[in-house]
Symmetry: C2
Subunit: 215 residues, 2 copies
DNA sequence: TCCCTTCTGTGACATCAGTCACTGTACTCC
DNA sequence: GGAGTACAGTGACTGATGTCACAGAAGGGA
């Protein structure tokens, strides 16, 4: 790993102790993903723990008919919790992970990540914290699917998207419909209604978000 | 803790190493729950890791309007993964845990459970395995809500229930409706349809399950 | 510039699920 | 055994969401 990566790593994962960061730098491999590249596919065997150093990943579920829906996003400094749990047993991934923007991921061989749990307190804490965070996000997603009508789910979705990538939501209605496991026409109508409240402005291939809390 | 508990504990948690079991026996407290008693409420501060030694618990989510829906069941030998994650930070519970049958739970003070992660390899493995299992079950629940119509969700629900408590499903239609976050009438109709296929027979306050795979 | 593709908007309609209103049935407690 | 209560069955209606069928708008490439 080159030295410029080192500095970036230190920044993104500053909660990890120095000797651990050194090991990561020495032992892991870097992968660059273009927008739309997959970091992990459903059914794939997991051999590494995935850390995100740059970019944005989405973690989602896909059913047998190709329907998908978004679980949550991963930002730089996050780890894919599932890839940590699968550690050491060559488990198959239950999820899809895809790059939303151009991204850079750090792949740590599973046996090392396993080893470090005992060796580095900060790694152990990081893993636990990651589990917890993801579990909570998943619960929120679950809530929104189980308890909320589609208009509220759309709001929840937009808010989350704004939080990770700003007020210009660069998505087509079709993409949004996919991630909510709905259909384009319905999303179009709901977005139109939102536009009428003044919360957003619609454009081709992107949505300008003004204020989602006024709704 | 009395000695008869000790033997039971050994049985249910045989994957844990002996010195750890001794510590558990010495340091934890036992609580007996009657059917319907709550082990954990949403918003409650978590001070202990919860292990289930006898009975059956259901873990579910509740929204602000009192709607609920089932996440998964815990059987003897299982632990409440959420209560492990909240460890050491006095976090609030995001979930409800309630006894389905008369149950016995083991409460381990959070600081100990935290300590043991480093001290006992088998504890560490147990915690990781618990996270993973619960995460997977949660994903399945999520799938069923997101991708399936209510009739299939009902099937999924019944199958899961049969797995943990046998072919006599002792529940009213109302209870099932609650756990699926639906309404009694709808569940009644779907059950009636199921009965017509021969998969089940309906009785007052319980459902006799013959074969859910023929549907 | 012109064609072609992709994205968006919209009406009409079908379907599933939730709600209301009511009936009937089984169990329980005096 | 009678009254009261919880549970179950059913028809009618409503609303939300998904589907179909188009039409129009925006952008991209030859």
């Amino acid at each position: 790993m080159e030295s410029k990566n080192k500095e970036e790593l230190l920044q993104k994962f500053s909660q990890l102790e120095q000797p651990l960061l050194d090991e990561i730098l020495a032992q892991s491999t870097i992968r660059h993903l273009k927008e739309g590249d997959e970091a992990l596919r459903t059914g794939q065997y997991i051999k590494s723990t995935v850390l995100l150093s740059k970019g944005l990943l989405k973690v989602y579920r896909e059913d047998e008919n190709g329907n998908e829906f978004l679980m949550y996003y991963l930002e730089p400094g996050n780890a894919c919790a599932l890839s940590m749990m699968c550690t050491a047993r060559d488990e198959q991934s239950q999820i899809m992970v895809k790059a939303v923007d151009e991204s850079e991921i750090i792949l740590i061989p599973s046996h090392l990540s396993e080893l470090w749990l005992a060796k580095y307190k900060s790694w152990h804490n990081f893993v636990i914290a990651s589990y917890r965070q993801r579990f909570e996000e998943l619960l929120q997603t679950l809530d929104s699917v189980a308890f909320k009508a589609l208009d509220e789910r759309l709001l929840f979705y937009l808010k989350r998207h704004v939080k990770v990538s700003g007020n210009e939501v660069k998505l087509s209605h079709q993409q949004i419909a996919n991630e909510l496991s709905s259909s384009r026409e319905v999303i179009s109508r709901l977005l139109k209604k939102l536009e009428q409240t003044g919360a957003i402005t619609l454009h081709r291939n992107y949505i300008e978000v003004h204020d989602l809390d006024i709704v």
